[in-house]
Symmetry: C2
Subunit: 254 residues, 2 copies
């Protein structure tokens, strides 16, 4: 696209590029949208106007654009997110109450973990994840749990993608990752210490549906000083078990 | 559009019509999408494929289409919904615990009230509202509160739209509505009995931001047999006050 060559994208692709410009941004000016979507200003202006006419974007009094209520209403009906959040919420709330740290619910989306929900205690450790965030599988507690139970091709793709070393403890080598994933499958939970965020550790466990498939993961991210406290592993395990049970999962032998 | 005349809609409008087809529906087949979006099957097929390529729609193993994670991620970042939900959640949870019924948080969108959040006790009364629903202002507790504090033009538009009488108690006459809205402004809460749902009553109160403007409404919908219990009005009033305060609202004289 650089150098001003002809843009072979369809109108739909250009419209979606405008939507994608809002990833991680609360508001954007028109020139920012054009630049992030790699569109000439005139094209961006015309297509943004279409988004606004529909209500997918709104223009504020400050002249900047934001995601509109129509997109919120559409997105919030996404069946997986709606159902999982609704079923999981009471368990996540119990976990929050028991720990006062961050409680996460995430699902796998390609090579990323998408955070469906985050509840946080007032003194929780600063983290980069938030509702709607998408973080790499290899560097997060929920991501490693989801990866441990994903088809083997996903693991190959993670390796091929050149997993980034965020901190000295981030696992990026095939051997280290394989060992960790085997541990997760064997112990039923994943414990990570300062693999994505300094000063934080995480404990994560898989959520299964009625077919036994792992469809989500629950985690706590807490201050690293609390890593030895026993309630984190216990709480995450129980929350994951409760949500799985509410989804219709029945462990073999019960 | 009927009769097969030329479709003057832009590509963007057709794409958005496809998204709108999913309002109130969890999944749709291709022919349903085409019919609801008033598009020829071939056009619908081509545009749905663009939605799927982007991830805004996904095609399930059953061949039906659903809203995808990409739309969820985009919508969930809508700043108003994100901020209000986050700030309001603890108060809504307290209200749920105190009542065991439905707790709602809603904002005004044109002539409708959009439900940003709903928490429900296990034995709550059956209602039609849900997260993402948009219900008419004149027939819901939150809607009447939002209407009572909306610009006068909104009231005129509601009257002009021919407000529907859902139940014998639904207010649809100008005089009745004017009186109710004045009561709401004077008492600070709205109590409705069987105006939208048989067997249910609602109590609703306004949420104000730092400028004093009413930006949302909180309500409880409960079994009509409990209408005389005092904790509903008290709880809703306190929750609305707490959320307003968390948004920076300071009542005059305090």
């Amino acid at each position: 696209m650089s150098g001003g060559g002809a843009d072979s994208r369809s109108v739909a692709e250009k419209l979606f590029a405008i939507a994608d410009a809002f990833a991680g941004r609360e508001s954007l000016g028109l020139t920012e949208i054009a630049s992030r979507a790699r569109l000439p200003l005139s094209t961006a202006h015309r297509l943004v106007r279409e988004w606004v006419a529909w209500g997918g974007l709104v223009r504020g009094d400050d002249g900047r654009y934001r995601v509109g209520m129509r997109l919120w209403r559409l997105g919030v009906r996404q069946p997986t997110a709606l159902r999982l959040r609704r079923i999981a919420m009471p368990y996540l709330e119990d976990l929050l109450e028991a720990t006062g740290e961050h409680v996460h619910l995430a699902v796998r989306d390609g090579l990323g973990a998408i955070y469906l929900e985050r509840l946080s205690g007032p003194g929780a450790v600063p983290v980069i994840s938030d509702v709607g965030s998408r973080l790499p599988l290899h560097a997060t507690g929920v991501g490693l749990v989801l990866l441990a139970h994903a088809p083997i091709e996903v693991f190959d793709e993670v390796l091929a993608s050149g997993p980034r070393k965020y901190l000295p403890n981030t696992l990026t080598e095939e051997r280290d990752l394989r060992r960790r994933l085997a541990e997760i499958r064997s112990f039923g939970i994943s414990t990570s210490v300062e693999e994505l965020t300094s000063g934080a550790f995480s404990v994560a466990a898989p959520v299964r549906d009625a077919t036994g498939e792992v469809v989500a993961a629950v985690s706590i991210i807490a201050h690293v000083e609390r890593v030895a406290e026993p309630q984190f592993a216990l709480g995450v395990r129980m929350a994951a078990r409760g949500i799985s049970s509410a989804l219709g999962y029945r462990p073999q032998g019960e």
